[in-house]
């Protein structure tokens, strides 16, 4: 991480006093016991207590905090619900952790313009809950949707299982209100489609809290489809499952969701929730189709015959919503099921062209042997997003380091076959040093210049996304461990 500013830490009392002029005292947490719960997000392998935690209550307060921090050169790490999996809201020792937890209200439900205006701390699922009685929903559904916040979704450009048909966060929001590091409050987009000039809304979506703090989000809502059905299909090999996925897409079908699991995960999840999965299968597909009733029936029939052609060993079609949700229950329990199998697991997140699946899974199996760590694979087959879950025991010596190396090797391979480092979890601190696998110096420097254009002193969420050493981009990957580098004095971005 960036070099810790000890001088700044020594001024903690002064900083807290200044913050008290902006915020109510009860919204400032500065005692070690109070800041400890915020030392990590959902990437719990990394921990660091911040200097102070603040809970602003409105946009003006956010603006004042950022403006004060900008002038006083204090780093700020924004945090939503803390469910991020890449350490994007990992605090720095000399930073203020800015929590949006008090921004938890839905401001406006606008059926006429088919949108909802919400504060960033509102959870993803509660947006759907607020409009479902009118038959509407918000499409992106990351698996943490019960807890993750919509502001965090925008910061990470979260996806979910329906991304192929309905897009990710960036395709489903219309506008935001943001505060830049200098305290400027801006509205980007609104209730219209697209906006003129540079697509700043598109730029800040997925910028992982490095460019601005989000204080309001306007999301698009959609009418629920008339009919939704799912098919549960087993295969005797990964290849057959992969071929079936490719053929479904090539035949002109865009499923609402298409999920694939390998044998390890089929067993783990079936043990965990008794979802009725085909336990003898080497791979399993859940194909969900939605639309008008006749359309869904037609498509299910097509999927059925494509599956048979690709040597499926079992096919179950959901008869009702209850059964369909049961098909999903296993998939949605993939993480806790792995938690049941090993003391710790590490979830990776790469995206690959669908057709490369068998190749990539073979490589993962080889690496699993090499590192002597078991792995289970969940795959958003529709959009090519792969989540290998590496199981390890943190109490074993060097096991986290081995796991991280294993994970990094998987992601490098994803890039090698034409994919990307992260599909929906973000780069954060986790994949920072891998950015050079995908981008060269020019690419990274251009991105860093954009960062500087909006946050001149690089105070907002520093140490995330971009390699700490500028030289990294020129010399290939350099592993920086716990901030111990050979060249601590080289300027950081």
């Amino acid at each position: 991480m960036p070099k810790v500013d000890r001088k700044l830490i020594s001024k903690k009392a002064e900083i807290v006093a200044s913050l008290k002029k902006i915020l109510k005292a009860e919204n400032i947490l500065d005692h070690e016991d109070q800041t400890r719960p915020f030392e990590t997000d959902a990437l719990s392998a990394y921990k660091q207590k911040p200097l102070v935690v603040v809970f602003p209550e409105n946009t003006q307060e956010v603006s004042k905090i950022l403006s004060y921090c900008n002038q006083s050169r204090i780093k700020v790490v924004p945090r939503g619900a803390g469910t991020g999996l890449s350490g994007g809201s990992l605090p720095l020792e000399d930073s203020i952790l800015l929590c949006l937890g008090k921004f938890n209200k839905i401001i406006n439900i606008d059926f006429k313009n088919r949108c909802v205006v919400a504060q960033p701390g509102v959870t993803n699922l509660s947006i759907t809950k607020a409009v479902e009685d009118h038959g509407f929903y918000y499409a992106p559904d990351p698996s943490s949707q019960i807890a993750c916040s919509i502001g965090g979704n925008v910061a990470e450009n979260s996806g979910g299982v329906h991304s192929l048909k309905y897009g990710t966060t960036t395709n489903n929001i219309l506008g935001v209100e943001v505060v830049f590091m200098d305290g400027t409050i801006s509205r980007l987009g609104g209730k219209t489609f697209d906006s003129e000039g540079y697509d700043l809304l598109g730029l800040i979506t997925g910028s992982e809290g490095l460019l601005c703090v989000i204080t309001e989000v306007t999301v698009k809502i959609l009418k629920k489809p008339q009919t939704v059905k799912a098919a549960l299909i087993g295969f005797s090999s990964i290849e057959d499952g992969g071929n079936c996925v490719s053929e479904i897409i090539a035949s002109g079908i865009i499923p609402a969701g298409m999920e694939m699991m390998d044998k390890a995960l089929i067993h783990a999840t079936d043990d965990f929730v008794k979802a009725g999965y085909p336990r003898d299968a080497e791979s399993m597909l859940i194909v969900e189709l939605d639309g008008s009733e006749s359309e869904v029936d037609e498509l299910i029939e097509k999927v059925n015959s494509i599956a048979k052609k690709n040597k499926s060993t079992s096919i179950k079609i959901s008869k009702n919503d209850k059964q369909r949700l049961k098909f999903w229950a296993g998939r949605k329990a993939a993480f806790p099921a792995c938690g049941d199998m090993a003391p710790d697991y590490y979830c990776m997140d790469g995206t690959i062209p669908r057709g490369k699946l068998a190749l990539v899974l073979k490589e993962i199996a080889r690496l699993s042997k090499k590192y002597n760590l078991p792995v289970a694979n969940a795959f958003h087959a529709g959009d090519g997003n792969l989540h290998p879950l590496i199981m390890y025991d943190a109490n074993e010596k060097n096991s986290l380091e081995r796991t991280e190396k294993f994970g990094a090797d998987i992601l490098k391979y994803c890039v090698k076959v034409g994919g990307v480092l992260t599909g929906e979890h973000g780069v954060g601190v986790e994949k920072r040093e891998l950015m050079c696998e995908m981008f060269n110096n020019n690419d990274i420097q251009q991105q860093i210049k954009i960062k500087k254009a909006l946050d001149a002193s690089s105070l907002l969420n520093p140490g995330k996304v971009y390699p700490i050493l500028r030289k990294c981009a020129e010399e290939g990957r350099i592993h920086v461990h716990r901030g111990k580098t050979k060249f601590p004095d080289i300027p950081r971005f």
Partner: protein, 426 residues
């Protein structure tokens, strides 16, 4: 533009100033050269949309027309990677062979702006980010650009994105490219997401409705589960001299009755599904007793192609304005318009295309004020003989201007790429 730049511009306009780089490397060396010598440069493809935005005074023109060709098309992976100036028509023909399409419906601005059909190039579509009637359902160009390669204002080759739909690796610079009118980078390669083309598309037409009821129907149709992919209102105009917009002359379709205004709703998919959804729509909108008709596949396709390509306005010399607003505010805006305007509504009322007769700059700015107050924005798409130039073609506020200026600097510190095309100072 600085004084020095302007001088350079004037000196070099005498010489042969169009360059035709053959590849990305050459684009980079040209721009590096221009960067060193402070030569502002205009980037063009086929020039189909050159007239949108402010006219440029540049020392050099860089035609990307030689960067033409499909690099990689994998139908089962749902993407096509092309060189920047690959004609959109060529891409669409290739996709058609595999029953796929660019779902954002690229618009042919050639006829309107230059009197000759021209869909322009892949990069041109990206640079302008203006999408057709399906936008409210599937998104615009920005939602279909998966990745790009290009050259920034320092002559450096940069890239962002990839070939997959789910990608959060680094900032999403593809979004910034969309609608930047070549002011940030010279694109050299773009990758579009492609989607299966529907088997068929039918159009339900409700005749002779007033704007209020038309918008009610469109809203209800889009807010239903019937997966509507087109929703427009074409009002019946009074004959007033000076206007060219004419619905009756535009559509000569056997099954289209000429009976007052047209409220049209498109449904696409398999034949069976269309049939069911059409039935649902008629029931849900309670219009079985209304004056309605249905255009089947071929006629429906012709209908929407004409709508998309702004065929109503083709022979006009009047100003053409594009207004995007929240659909709920659309009626409000129409009420505030004088008889100097003709319009039609797309995207269920979220988009208004307008023909303006004898439009003055003050009138244009007064429309902009009204639209901005209602939460929308305005673009001058075509200047008229009456008003050949407007100062502010696009809408922006001071906050966003400042941010945009910083973003521009980060890509193009000397402002050599299409300077002033969008906004003075950017």
């Amino acid at each position: 533009m600085s004084i020095e730049e302007k001088q350079n511009s004037l000196t070099s306009q005498d010489s042969d100033s169009i360059e035709y780089p053959l590849n990305e490397k050459e684009v980079s060396s040209f721009i590096k050269k221009f960067y060193k010598s402070n030569f502002p440069v205009e980037l063009i493809g086929t020039g189909s949309k050159k007239k949108i935005g402010k006219p440029l005074q540049c020392a050099k023109t860089l035609s990307l027309s030689k960067l033409n060709g499909i690099v990689e098309y994998l139908p089962e992976e749902l993407y096509i990677k092309v060189k920047a100036a690959t004609p959109i028509q060529k891409i669409e023909e290739e996709l058609k062979k595999n029953k796929q399409q660019l779902a954002f419906e690229p618009i042919d601005f050639g006829n309107l702006l230059n009197g000759k059909s021209d869909y322009g190039t892949a990069a041109g579509q990206v640079a302008c980010n203006i999408s057709g009637p399906r936008r409210f359902k599937v998104g615009s160009v920005r939602d279909h650009l998966l990745g790009f390669r290009g050259v920034n204002g320092r002559g450096e080759i940069i890239k962002s994105g990839g070939v997959v739909v789910k990608n959060v690796t680094g900032y999403d610079l593809s979004k910034l490219m969309c609608g930047s009118y070549g002011t940030l980078a010279a694109l050299t390669e773009v990758t579009f997401k492609v989607l299966p083309a529907p088997d068929a598309g039918n159009t339900l037409i409700i005749h002779n409705q007033k704007i209020e009821t038309a918008l009610y129907f469109l809203d209800k149709a889009i807010s239903s589960s019937n997966d509507v992919s087109g929703a427009i209102f074409l009002p019946k105009e009074q004959d007033v001299t000076g206007f060219k917009m004419n619905i009756e002359n535009t559509f000569k379709l056997n099954d289209l009755k000429q009976d007052g205004s047209i409220t049209a709703i498109r449904v696409e998919g398999s034949k069976k599904s269309i049939e069911q959804r059409m039935k649902n729509l008629v029931n849900e909108l309670k219009i079985s007793n209304h004056n309605i008709s249905i255009l089947e596949s071929l006629q429906s396709e012709i209908f929407w192609t004409k709508v998309k390509n702004l065929d109503f306005f083709l022979s006009t010399n009047n100003s053409i304005i594009r207004i995007v607003i929240p659909p709920s505010e659309c009626v409000n805006l129409v009420y505030q318009m004088s008889n100097k305007f003709r319009y039609y509504l797309d995207w269920g009322g979220a988009l208004m295309w307008m023909e303006a007769f004898e439009l003055s700059e003050e009138m244009f700015e007064s429309i902009r004020k009204k639209v901005v107050r209602l939460g929308g924005y305005v673009t001058m798409i075509k200047n008229s003989d009456y008003l050949p130039f407007v100062e502010d073609v696009f809408t922006i506020n001071s906050d966003r201007f400042n941010i945009s200026q910083n973003i521009k600097k980060s890509f193009d510190p000397k402002r050599i790429l299409n300077p002033g095309k969008m906004y003075t100072g950017i």
